[in-house]
């Protein structure tokens, strides 16, 4: 069978202890037997490890942060596209998704495909809108409240029992046992990510996650549930295992069907000891642990590429339970010339030796 030869641009190459999903996404694509991809890495910092890792990226280009503004951001993508035509972009970071969704028709006009949820889907699953999302799609969610100022902290005890979770709009979550701790976390998160800050009821139980892919018409194309076995001080999974949980998969299928979700998503839920499931977050992108799903039998990055390119896909029905991942750190040695190339010229070509 002839392979699908395409150029795919990928972001999220920060393979640190708080990893972006770029590297595992590329690994999934590289593992594919039906896709022959030229991979373009889009990096924000010149020390993102994925850029230097062997066998992954053909060429990396530096791009500005999305906070620079959509126009400047898309201009840089266009500039890269003129030099090195891109068929598909897979954005992997929360903070850039809005920019890509907003620019998707512009990108499509110049021949760059994306496979992302709609802006409406993106907005309604926001942490700040979780309450109404739960009601609309009939799924249990923890009680939450959006704070825009410190003055609201004092009144929290009218609606919440401590402890509560204090969350940023995009990143960071801390547990607070009293109003003073809420204030500390409010200041810390708002200084970094801005407001609003979300206060969420603390649900006791086990966190279970699902990586899933929707076709945009209501069908689940892939879904693999996982339980974190070890987490870092940043709350990121350092080790996880695929689990067999039909109820969790049922909730996932229901959400994808009702929302007609398009693209990848990570569903984060708490399973209580009584066996109830509470939705705590939906990340509208591939999570950094996606390579576990690939290893368990569902190559989600490959399937997303096929969907984006308009190829037919068969929904996955099986995966292996008890498949584990364990992250590790590894000192990758590089040459100063590579760093120089990226720092001075904003691009770096790497030789990929095919096996």
């Amino acid at each position: 069978m002839e392979k699908l030869k395409i150029t795919i641009a990928v972001t999220g190459l920060n393979n640190t202890d708080n990893p972006g999903p770029g590297v595992p996404v590329i690994r999934g694509i590289r593992d594919s037997e039906v896709i022959e991809a030229r991979i373009i890495g889009l990096a924000y910092e010149n020390l993102e490890p994925g850029v230097y890792m062997p066998g992954l990226i053909n060429k990396t280009y530096m791009i500005p942060y999305p906070s620079t503004g959509t126009e400047a951001y898309v201009e840089r993508i266009e500039e890269i596209h003129q030099k090195d035509p891109i068929d598909l972009i897979i954005p992997n970071l929360d903070a850039e998704l809005y920019t890509f969704m907003k620019a998707s028709s512009k990108l499509s006009e110049i021949g760059i495909k994306t496979f992302l949820p709609s802006l409406e889907q993106f907005e309604e699953r926001h942490k700040a809108n979780l309450d109404s999302f739960g009601i609309k799609y009939d799924v249990k969610v923890p009680k939450s409240k959006t704070l825009t100022g410190q003055y609201e902290i004092e009144k929290l005890s009218d609606d919440f029992e401590y402890p509560v979770l204090v969350k940023g709009k995009f990143y960071d979550a801390y547990i607070a046992y009293n109003p003073e701790q809420v204030t500390t976390h409010f200041n810390k998160i708002s200084a970094k990510w801005g407001i609003p800050i979300i206060i969420q009821e603390f649900i006791k139980g086990t966190e279970v996650n699902v990586v899933a892919l929707g076709d945009g018409m209501g069908s689940t194309i892939a879904a693999v549930p996982m339980r974190k076995q070890f987490i870092t001080d940043k709350g990121k999974a350092w080790s996880g295992i695929t689990i067999s949980d039909t109820e969790l998969l049922g909730i996932t299928n229901g959400l994808i069907e009702k929302t007609k979700w398009r693209g990848a998503m990570e569903i984060e839920m708490i399973k209580t000891n009584a066996g109830e499931y509470y939705l705590i977050e939906i990340n509208p992108r591939i999570p950094a642990w996606v390579y576990l799903a690939v290893g368990a039998g569902q190559n989600i990055p490959e399937t997303l590429v096929k969907l984006a390119m308009g190829k037919s896909v068969t929904p996955y029905k099986m995966y292996q339970t008890g498949k584990m991942f364990i992250r590790y750190s590894w000192d990758l040695l590089g040459d100063i010339q590579e760093f120089e190339q990226l720092s001075i010229y904003g691009e770096l070509e790497k030789q990929i030796i095919s096996t």
């Binding site: 996982m226 339980r227 076995q229 695929t242 689990i243 067999s244 949980d245 008890g322």
Partner: protein
């Protein structure tokens, strides 16, 4: 008392619950008891089998077994009774 379906026990005494992702190490006796439970043996049959093999007072064994069963329940390894 029934062990939950899909629980996997290896010969080394490693028990894996695929619904939660939890795993446990069983000693030889624990392994024997869990194996008998998974074969659908009754609690009385388990007691008889252990009494035949080990020198232990029945009431002492019963106490240890109760502890062990409550541990299995606590770890959600038993079907809802």
């Amino acid at each position: 008392m029934k062990l939950k379906k899909n629980i996997a026990i290896s010969e080394s005494g490693f028990l894996f619950d695929p619904s939660s992702g939890d795993s446990f190490n069983l000693n030889k006796t624990g392994q024997q008891i869990v194996k008998m439970l998974s074969e659908g043996k009754s609690e009385n049959a388990i007691i008889r089998s252990i009494l035949e093999e080990f020198k232990v007072e029945k009431h002492t064994l019963q106490r240890y077994l109760d502890d062990f069963y409550s541990m299995l329940r606590q770890f959600n390894l038993i079907e809802n009774e």
